[in-house]
Structures are given as structure tokens and as C-alpha cells.
């Protein structure tokens, strides 16, 4: 089938834009000049007054030239989109054929898992949302002990699940013994709403709807994974991963369904309608360009990553083979990956703490009312303008060994010391952390300076009158008022530590120095994002790299959700 060509359309569009812009500009100028002449006023001021129209005309012209020069790219893009749309029928056909052919047993098992999960969670969510089931509120102290419990579990390496169980036990015990929240919670009155007709009604709707939605939704991700974990005799670990995938898939539709079913209707009526679109289609029309970009550049490639992670494939060879969850299983058993995991967590904690602490200290110093403060501030922000890889190359010239580096040259001449910055397993991580901290410092300082300028003077003055000293003023007033900035920076810094330090590792250590003989235990700076890059583009293990990418994404997404859930509660946004 010959594809519809967009070239002539693009040309037409561009020429149309151009001609339109020129006519508009001429009309503006001639019209205004004529008007001005008839009014015998100064031409200059009138033109200046209409300058925005001229700018608009110029912008349109520029847009026209851009469209014209990018026409090939646009044509390719349009062709791709048309091709993709053209493929939809055969894509749907494939799906239908797949579900016709899939063995009934595998299908039933996955439907059962999805349905059960959907029914139970929907019931619970309904009861909780409608205040039929009240949950105990755990104190921050209890959560703190629980985290310590999990950490202790990891320290004695009793396994992930036992560590989590230990954490839960600590949480409950602390609440029972120290806080008595759970004891207070366990009174009959708290459970009365549960045993009433509204509860039955919620369950009556929630259970069947949840089961149905869960079962159907669970099949979304069963198509790319081909129900492979439900085959009789599938390895235990793969089967467990399969359960995760099924549950995750079920949540894809369950989450919006919960929002629709259980949203609080009373609040909507009270909200004034002034901020809402009357026309229900209009908001989606405005959103559509963004959605289009997101689908083409984010969601579609994202779904491809999922498909790729279930395959054995060597980039750049075209050959591939379906391998179910083998890539994930391999990762969990790989000591090198485990090392990358713990290294990443260590790096993240260190970068976030160091970078934010230093930034806050420097920002406080730079916010003082001294001569030329704005100059200092601009200079402090500069590191942010340097890209991570350039930063790392600068650090490399400083930290190189064997007499080729500046720092060792100085240290050698002054003290006769030559630390092995890049090849010592204890030192190398700190060099990378230092480079990353230096690079992100400017960004953090920028936000903290802005934050400090927002702290109201009168509060600080009042505190001073009450006899608070500098440190008390900082801890009691300034720092709490900075909490929105700290929270925002926490999220961006964590994301940066997970994704942004690739450049530093690549230029400085290439993941090394190695741990264990022959590097069988990984490298001291081989963080997840670097290992991902190496596996994907150097070693060409596409499938495994895709699995790593998904895990990394879920980690960062999970951390961000957790932060919004727990940390943001302690943030005070000033009115």
C-alpha cells in the first residue's frame, strides 16, 4: 500500500504561513503608517506601540522557515505515525489471535490471580475510602523503628521478605508498647461501621467490579509476557515475577476505576465551577499535543522496553528469542548486579546528603547582605551550567594517577603522597561522589538562595526579640520554612543520583576499580545506570539491559511516590 505523502501538505503549510505572515506585517506597517500620517503624529512612537504585532509577524515567519527546513523530519514523523496507525488493525488482530490460541490453563490461572487481587483490593479500598474501615495511624517514631528493623534484617542478610516482615513486626510492637496507638485502635467502636449496610453495599459493588476489572486488566501485560510464567513447571522465581507482573497489570485499570468509584462526591459540589471547562472535550483538545508527544516519545518506547526485557537479544544483531522472565531472574542472581544495587544506594545517600547540606551552608553564606553579593551568587551557580561529562573530565585531569594528575603532582611535591584516587576501591567512589556533588551544587544553591529570600524578616526579628540566638532561629524558623525547597531538591537530587552520574563514572573510573578476582563481584563505582549503559551499548545485552531499565524506573518512581506520601506531609507551604 502506498503511503499518503505529507510533503506537499507541509510545503503548503509553510508557504501559507510565510505568505500570511508577510501580508500581516505589511498590513500592520502600511495601515499604521497611513493612520499615523492622517493623525499627524510621530511615526516612531506608533510603530513602537505596535511592536508586538511586528514581533508576532516575525515569529510566524520564523516558524514558517523552521517548518520548511525541518520538512523532511516532519515528513518522516508523519509517515511513522501514519504507519503506526495503519498497523493498528493488524496489531489488534494479533492480540485476538493470541488470546484464541493461548492454552486455557495458563489463561485461567492469570485471570484468577488478577480477579482475586482486583476483588480483595477493591473491597478494601472502598471500605477505607468510605470510612467504613478505619486504619490505625502509626507515629513517625514507629515508622523510624520499623526502618531500623528492616535495616537490621539486611545487615544480618536474612533476605528481603524476612527483613520486611521484621520491619512490620517492629512497627506493630512499637505501636502497641510505646505509642499504644494500636491498643487504642483495637476497640469495638472502631469496627462498628464495618458491620453495617453501607459496607455491604460497597462490597456488593466493589467485589464483582474489582474481580472483573482486575481479571481483564491483568491480561494487558500478559500479552507481551505471553502467560509464560503460568506454564506448568515454570521455575519458582519466574512464577513469582509473573505474579508481580499480573498484579501490576491489574492495577493499570484498577487505579482509575477506584478513583471513579470511590471519589468523594460531596466535595465536588462545593467547589465553584469557575475553574472548570464547561465543554468536556476542550480540555482534552488542549492536552492533545502534549499527549501526542508523550505517547510517541515516552509511552510507546516504554512499552517496547517491557517487551524487550522478555527477550534474549544481542544488540545490534537482529536475532531475538523470547525468554520469559529469564532476564529478571538472572539479574537477581548476579553478584555484579547486586553490587551495583548497593553501590547505587550508597552513592545516592552520600550525594543527596553532601550536596544538599553543602548547598544550604553556602546559600546561607551567600545570602548575607554584603557588597557584591549578587556577583558571588552568580559565580556559585556556575557549576550547574557545566555538563556532568565535562565536570568529570575536569576531575579526571585533577585526579589522574601515575604523575599525570594535578592533585597528585601537588601532593607529591608537598608531602610526598600519591593516593590512588581512581584505582583504590575505597577512594574511587568518593572521587565520583565529589564530582557529582560539585556538579549538582549550583542547582541546589540556586534554589536555597531563592528559598532564603522568601523567609519573612519579621518572623526572624520577632524571634530575635524573644531572645533566640542564630542557631535557634535557623533550626526553628528558617529551616522549617525552607522545607518545600528541601523536599523538591530531595526528589531532584535522588533522581540525579540515580540517572545523572553516568557521565562522572564513564569519564573517571568506567565502573572500576574491580571488586574480587577478575571483577567477578563487580566494580566499586559500577552504579546501576552505568551498568545499564554498559550492558545495553557496549556488551549489547539488550534484553537484560531493558530489564534493568524497568527495575531502575520502578525504583525511582517508587521512591518518588513514597516521598510524596510520607515526606511531603511534613512540608509546610507558606500561603
Amino acid at each position: 500500500m502506498e503511503r499518503f505523502s505529507f510533503e506537499w501538505f507541509g510545503n503548503l503549510l509553510a508557504v501559507g504561513f510565510g505568505v500570511g505572515a508577510v501580508i500581516y506585517a505589511v498590513w500592520v506597517i502600511v495601515g499604521r503608517i497611513g493612520y499615523v500620517a492622517s493623525q499627524r503624529q510621530l511615526v516612531g512612537t506608533e510603530v513602537r506601540r505596535n511592536i508586538h504585532r511586528l514581533i508576532l509577524a516575525g515569529t510566524l515567519l520564523l516558524a514558517a522557515t523552521f517548518i520548511l527546513s525541518e520538512i523532511r523530519g516532519l515528513v518522516v514523523l508523519a509517515d511513522l505515525v501514519i504507519g503506526a496507525i495503519g498497523n493498528i488493525p493488524s496489531f489488534i488482530g494479533d492480540i485476538i489471535k493470541y488470546f484464541e490460541d493461548v492454552p486455557g490453563e495458563q489463561l485461567q490461572k492469570s485471570l484468577l490471580v488478577g480477579g482475586l487481587f482486583g476483588a480483595v483490593t477493591t473491597g478494601l479500598v472502598g471500605l477505607i475510602a468510605k470510612k467504613r474501615l478505619l486504619l490505625p495511624e502509626f507515629s513517625m517514631r514507629a515508622w523510624g523503628y520499623a526502618v531500623v528493623g528492616v535495616a537490621v534484617g539486611f545487615l544480618f542478610s536474612i533476605g528481603l521478605w524476612y527483613s520486611l516482615l521484621l520491619g512490620l513486626a517492629v512497627l506493630l510492637a512499637t505501636s502497641l508498647i510505646l505509642d499504644s496507638t494500636v491498643r487504642d485502635y483495637l476497640t469495638p467502636t472502631n469496627f462498628k461501621p464495618l458491620f453495617s449496610t453501607p459496607s455491604l453495599r460497597i462490597l456488593g459493588i466493589g467485589l464483582p467490579v474489582g474481580a472483573m476489572v482486575g481479571a481483564i486488566s491483568s491480561q494487558i501485560l500478559m500479552y507481551p509476557t505471553q502467560h509464560c510464567t503460568y506454564i506448568d513447571g515454570a521455575p519458582r522465581l519466574e512464577y513469582r515475577f509473573g505474579l508481580f507482573v499480573t498484579v501490576g497489570s491489574a492495577l493499570l485499570i484498577l487505579l482509575p476505576v477506584w478513583a471513579l468509584l470511590f471519589k468523594d462526591r460531596t466535595t465536588i459540589k462545593e467547589v465553584s465551577t469557575s475553574g472548570y471547562f464547561r465543554n468536556p472535550v476542550l480540555p482534552y483538545l488542549f492536552l492533545s499535543p502534549t499527549l501526542f508527544i508523550l505517547i510517541v516519545f515516552l509511552y510507546y518506547p516504554g512499552s517496547q522496553v517491557l517487551t524487550l526485557s522478555t527477550k534474549l537479544k544481542r544488540f545490534p544483531l537482529p536475532q531475538e528469542r523470547f525468554s520469559c522472565m529469564a532476564n529478571y531472574v538472572k539479574l537477581t542472581e548476579d553478584p555484579i548486579y547486586q553490587n551495583s544495587f548497593s553501590t547505587t544506594i550508597f552513592f545516592t545517600v552520600m550525594i543527596v546528603i553532601l550536596s544538599m547540606f553543602l548547598a544550604l551552608m553556602i546559600a546561607i553564606l551567600a545570602s548575607q547582605k554584603i557588597k557584591g553579593a549578587s556577583v558571588y551568587r552568580s559565580l556559585l551557580i556556575w557549576p550547574y551550567a557545566v555538563s556532568p561529562i565535562v565536570t568529570a573530565i575536569v576531575f579526571l585531569t585533577m585526579f589522574r594517577e601515575g604523575g599525570a594528575g594535578l592533585i597528585n603532582y601537588a601532593l607529591d611535591n608537598l608531602f610526598g603522597l600519591e593516593p590512588r584516587w581512581l584505582t583504590d576501591t575505597d577512594l574511587a567512589p568518593w572521587v565520583v561522589i565529589l564530582a557529582a556533588v560539585w556538579n549538582s551544587l549550583g542547582f541546589n544553591i540556586l534554589f536555597y538562595i531563592a528559598g532564603l529570600q522568601n523567609v519573612p524578616e519579621d518572623l526572624l526579628e520577632a524571634a530575635a526579640i524573644d531572645g533566640a540566638n542564630r542557631i535557634q532561629k535557623f533550626i526553628r524558623i528558617t529551616f522549617p520554612l525552607l522545607s518545600p525547597f528541601t523536599f523538591f531538591l530531595l526528589i531532584t537530587n535522588i533522581t540525579y543520583s540515580f540517572y545523572g552520574i553516568y557521565g562522572a563514572v564513564e569519564a573517571l573510573t568506567q565502573g572500576g576499580p574491580t571488586l574480587g578476582a577478575g571483577g567477578k563481584d563487580g566494580g566499586a563505582t559500577n552504579v546501576l545506570i552505568y551498568k545499564l549503559y554498559q550492558d545495553a551499548f557496549v556488551n549489547g545485552r539488550s534484553g537484560e539491559a531493558a530489564a534493568q531499565a524497568l527495575i531502575l524506573f520502578l525504583m525511582v518512581a517508587g521512591l518518588t511516590v513514597l516521598q510524596f506520601r510520607f515526606v511531603e506531609r511534613r512540608v509546610t507551604y507558606s500561603g
Binding site: G18, I29, R314, L317, G402, G403, R420, G516, G519, N539
Partner: protein, 448 residues
């Protein structure tokens, strides 16, 4: 003000018209053949030379248009070609580094040059230095035409050697150690160590070949597809034991970063080491930098383990591969251009301009005839080392699909030995396991 605004609008209009003009497509004559050559030379000097050869070819063959395409690195070039091939527009000629050969064969998008070339054209290949041609011959078929080749040589600082009283340039591992004992005892201020080379799997491959040993089973993957690498061999142990001894005595120095070519060159030209091992492709740069720093750089064969007969180095560099999915006329033009690129006078010109050595006997003869080597004696070492190579499976080099990963594994093993203090045998065994596992996966995928 009005004039300025008017001027701006007119300027914008002109810009718009100018961009429209840029989109105009050239009209094509009917017998016009258009081919694409994708290479990796981003620098002005070498890409300029390629452009010069292409222009010369187009002048000779007016009906052929050659588009040049530049990739940023060897891996990028082969990856890009394979991805373009999925879209149905692979470049006709792709420059692929020697270790990418297995990958290129397994990808299935390339065809042997020998299947397109005429008898006469094939006969011209006999002029190519035998070990170089060997590397790219599989199943007695010439798959690709060698283009740019280099191998590693030993560079030494003549002044330091003289000062330390080292009379003969060391040729074996123990001689290097002995020379280093003398040099380090001489108390020369500038020295950080005695010898340096970048931690790079490439050098290890050369030393394996020098010992006549194989890097992979099944005749280095040439008799049949390789199923196992042989990192735990005697030959590998020789290399790593020596390396460790040099490192333990602080004779061996590197910059701490893997494959840091420039950094290790700087150690030598900064007179921080007396010996240096690197590619002949850097010969021009290093000798110039040495002269500038006030010393003379000499060159010699790379040192080899004691008691081994010198088998010769594996050739390094790249060759030109032909992608198959094109009309016959384009394929013929592509092969013709490939051979044109390597012809004698271009080979001579290429060598002088870059330092890569000419790969044709006739080009070497031409250079000798004009007295090039008498004027540039250091350039001779590389040729001698290459032409004295004994052609066999070891010196033909291994053909492995996971070569890029293998290099990383070897480098990490080396790092764990020289920095981490690991036992060489233990490190090599672990590296061997890692490489074998990866190779098994690769083979299971491509041999289905």
C-alpha cells in the same frame, strides 16, 4: 525605527526564501549510481583525505556519486549500519574494526566482497600483506577489504636508557624487568615508574598471538564457530604474571582509567616512564611530542615472554564491508571504489598523512624507493614487525561475537590483578567463566 523594522522583516523573508531553496532536490541522470560510504574519521585531517579520494574517484567515474557518512566510533558505525539496514537503507560500504568481524558475519546484512568482485579485481588483492588479508578471510572467501591497519610497538626514551646504562633495548619480559631495575635505581627525577601502557584488551591479544597461542577454541573461531574463550591458558598466565610483577615493584604505571590512550601517551612524552607501548597509529604524534619535550623516542618490537619464539602480532585496524541489499550496479561501483581507496598511490598518501601503514606490498616498495623509511626510521619497526609475522591461526586473530565485551572482561581482570592484588590465575579463571557464559548465550542466539 521604521527602517529597522522594515529591514528586519525583509531579512526574515530572505531567510525564508533561502531555506526554501535549500530543499530543492538534485535531478538525477538515469544511469547515475549513488553509493554511501560510512567511516569513522571525524577529524579534519583523515576525513579530508577520504573526501579527497572520493572526489578523485568521482572525477574518474562521472556517473558515480559517493556520499560520505561519518560515525563517531567503530561500535557506532557497525551499530548504525545494522539499524539502518532494518529501515532498508544501509550504507553500501561500512568501515568495521577487526574485532567486529564475527558480529558483521552473524548480522547477515553483509555479503563477501569476493562474491561481487571480478576475477581481475580479486587478483589485485594478492598485493595485500598476507597476515592482514588473512584476518578478513573466512571459509576461503575474502569478506572485506582491509583499509587501515596498525599494531602496537615499544617506544623508549633514548636519553633515559643511556643515562641508566641500559645498552640493548629489551626484547623479552625478563629483559624489561632487568632494564627497569637499572632505570629505577638510576635515580632519575622525572620518573614515576619504568613502563606504561593503557589498560587495554588489545595489547593482551597481541601478546597471546606472539606466543602462538589461541584466544578462543576451534582455531580461534576460524575452523568453526568458537564456543569457549581461553583466558585461563598458559599464555595468558605468562602475561598477567609479568604484569603483576611490574605493578608490584611499582615499575608499571597507568593513569587509573581504562583504555586511556591519551593519558598513557602523556606519561611517556612527559618523561614519567622510560618505556611505553601503544599503537603505531600514534607514531607521528609521539615522536613529535618527544622532540618538543627534548628527548628522542626510539621504537622496537613489543617485548614477549621468555623462551617463546616470536610468532608476530595480530593486525589491528579496520576493513571495508559490503552490505548486500542493493542493486547490482551499486554493488559493483561500491567494490570498485573500495579497491580504488586501497590502491598503491592512495596507500602511500594515506600512510604519510596518518601513520597507519600501507597494507599493500607495492605501496611499501614505493615508499622504500623514495627513501621514506631512511628519512623516518622509526616508521620501519612497525612494518618489520608486521611483515615478519608468521601467518597461522594465532596471528590471524580470534573471531568472536562478544569481542567488545571480552575486552572489558580482560581489562577488569587485569585491573583486579595490578590494583586489587588478586592472584593472576584466579582472576583469569573468573574472567574465563564470565566470557564463556556470555559467549554461550551469544552462540545460542545466532546459531538457531
Amino acid at each position: 525605527m521604521k527602517k529597522i523594522v522594515l529591514f528586519a522583516v525583509v531579512a526574515l523573508m530572505v531567510a525564508g526564501v533561502a531555506t526554501m531553496g535549500r530543499e530543492a532536490k538534485p535531478t538525477q541522470a538515469q544511469d547515475q549510481v549513488e553509493i554511501t560510504f560510512s567511516h569513522i574519521f571525524g577529524d579534519e585531517n583523515r576525513s579530508g583525505l577520504i573526501q579527497k579520494y572520493a572526489d578523485a574517484y568521482m572525477a574518474e567515474h562521472p556517473n558515480v556519486k559517493i556520499n560520505l557518512q561519518i560515525a563517531t566510533s567503530y561500535p557506532e558505525n557497525i551499530n548504525g549500519a545494522l539499524l539502518a539496514s532494518e529501515q532498508g537503507n544501509a550504507p553500501h560500504i561500512v568501515q568495521i574494526y577487526e574485532i567486529g568481524s564475527r558480529l558483521a558475519l552473524d548480522s547477515g546484512i553483509f555479503i563477501p566482497v569476493g562474491s561481487v568482485a571480478t576475477e581481475d579485481q580479486l587478483a589485485t588483492l594478492d598485493d595485500i600483506i598476507q597476515p592482514v588479508l588473512n584476518y578478513y578471510t573466512f571459509d576461503d572467501q575474502v569478506w572485506s577489504v582491509p583499509f587501515n591497519s596498525s599494531n602496537p610497538i615499544l617506544y623508549y626514551n633514548m636519553e633515559i636508557l643511556e643515562q641508566a646504562g641500559v645498552e640493548a633495548v629489551p626484547q623479552t619480559y625478563s629483559e624489561v624487568l632487568a632494564a627497569c631495575d637499572k632505570i629505577m635505581a638510576a635515580g632519575i627525577e622525572s620518573l614515576e615508574g619504568c613502563i606504561g601502557w593503557s589498560v587495554n584488551g588489545w595489547f593482551v591479544e597481541q601478546w597471546v598471538s606472539e606466543q602462538g597461542a589461541l584466544l578462543a577454541n576451534n582455531g580461534n573461531g576460524r575452523a568453526d564457530r568458537a564456543t569457549e574463550v581461553e583466558l585461563d591458558s598458559e599464555a595468558m598466565l605468562n602475561i598477567f604474571t609479568w604484569w603483576k610483577e611490574l605493578a608490584d615493584k611499582d615499575y608499571y604505571v597507568y593513569t587509573g582509567a581504562l583504555e586511556d590512550w591519551d593519558g598513557s601517551d602523556a606519561l611517556f612524552t612527559g618523561q614519567q616512564v622510560a618505556f611505553h607501548i601503544t599503537s603505531t597509529a600514534d607514531l607521528r604524534n609521539i615522536t613529535d611530542a618527544a622532540t618538543e619535550a627534548g628527548f628522542n623516542a626510539g621504537t622496537a618490537y613489543i617485548p614477549i615472554p621468555d623462551g617463546v619464539e616470536r610468532n608476530g602480532t595480530v593486525i589491528g585496524g579496520a576493513s571495508l564491508w559490503l552490505t548486500g541489499d542493493h542493486p547490482q550496479a551499486e554493488l559493483e561501483a561500491a567494490v570498485d571504489f573500495m579497491l580504488f581507496l586501497g590502491k598503491t598511490e592512495n596507500g602511500v598518501d594515506w600512510h604519510k598523512g596518518t601513520g597507519y601503514f600501507p597494507i599493500r606490498y607495492s605501496a611499501i616498495e614505493a615508499l622504500e624507493a623514495e627513501g621514506w623509511f631512511d628519512a623516518n626510521p622509526t616508521f620501519m619497526t612497525a612494518f618489520d614487525q608486521l611483515t615478519s609475522t608468521i601467518p597461522n591461526e594465532a596471528s590471524a586473530g580470534a573471531v568472536i561475537g562478544i569481542f567488545q565485551e571480552l575486552r572489558t572482561i580482560v581489562e577488569q581482570a587485569a585491573q583486579s590483578v595490578i590494583d586489587g592484588g588478586a592472584d593472576p590465575a584466579e582472576a583469569l579463571a573468573a574472567a574465563d567463566d564470565r566470557a564463556d557464559e556470555s559467549m554461550a548465550e551469544y552462540n545460542s542466539l545466532v546459531s538457531e
